[in-house]
């Protein structure tokens, strides 16, 4: 039976993986910019897939 500790270990393996650092950086520098652009009514970034559709505002 899977324990909460097992789950925490599995989450740590994903979030602390060496690949993560570059992805976190990319997220901070590009995704945040895409949201900012969208707020400024520049929908191009969202169309390019840089902003998840779930965050689009009407």
């Amino acid at each position: 039976m899977a324990t909460l500790q097992d789950l925490e270990t599995a989450i740590d393996a994903l979030l602390d993986h060496p690949l993560g650092d570059s992805q976190y950086q990319l997220n901070r520098r590009v995704e945040a910019k895409a949201y900012e652009a969208y707020d400024g009514n520049v929908p191009g970034n969202c169309c390019l897939g840089l902003a998840p559709a779930g965050r689009l505002r009407p």
Partner: protein, 176 residues
């Protein structure tokens, strides 16, 4: 017999807590994707037999199990699909050629675009890919004008794919 010692709610809380501790921005984005909820169709029976039932769309919150899968799908997009996208773009651009003019041209010389001699170079060579974060129309300065996209080792992507698969299995409550 349950296969987990934790509930879907506990699993979601632990995942979001650890994510927030690791990267607050990513955590906020995933929380927003969860909080959007989902659309469902509701049916209101008609009191008049001659009229049809009224069907309408309603937005409801995700269950904790659904929210876990939404969070894992978003993490898969960040840790598996984005690196694969970069690898694919790098592969495609490596095959692209760059045309370099073979003759030096001066401003006063008339030019005909069609006849300009160029030599094709760079096919099969890895190219540098960057995303422009400082747009041409932007007055305010950003810290970096461009962000480089770097290829990640396939083994690392596979490890993350395995980690996601493992987490999906650990958050599958369908047989509990």
């Amino acid at each position: 017999m349950p296969r987990h010692e934790y509930s879907p709610q506990q699993a979601l809380e632990v995942l979001m807590m650890k994510l927030r501790a690791r990267d607050e921005l990513l955590s906020d984005q995933i929380q927003a994707a969860i909080d959007v909820g989902k659309d469902v169709s509701e049916t209101e029976p008609s009191t008049d037999r001659r009229k049809k039932d009224r069907v309408y769309r309603k937005t409801v919150r995700f269950s904790h199990e659904e929210a876990l899968q939404i969070a894992l799908s978003a993490l898969q997009a960040y840790f598996v699909e984005q690196p694969l996208f970069v690898a694919s773009a790098s592969d495609n651009l490596a095959q692209a050629t760059v045309g370099v003019p073979t003759l030096q041209r001066f401003r006063h010389q008339s030019h005909n675009e069609d006849s300009e001699p160029v030599s094709l170079k760079g096919q099969g060579e890895e190219k540098t890919i960057v995303i422009e974060t400082q747009t041409e129309t932007q007055l305010s300065k950003t810290a970096e004008e461009t962000v480089p996209l770097k290829r990640v080792a396939k083994e690392q992507i596979e490890e993350q794919r395995h980690n996601i698969k493992n987490l999906r299995e650990m958050t599958d409550f369908s047989e509990d």
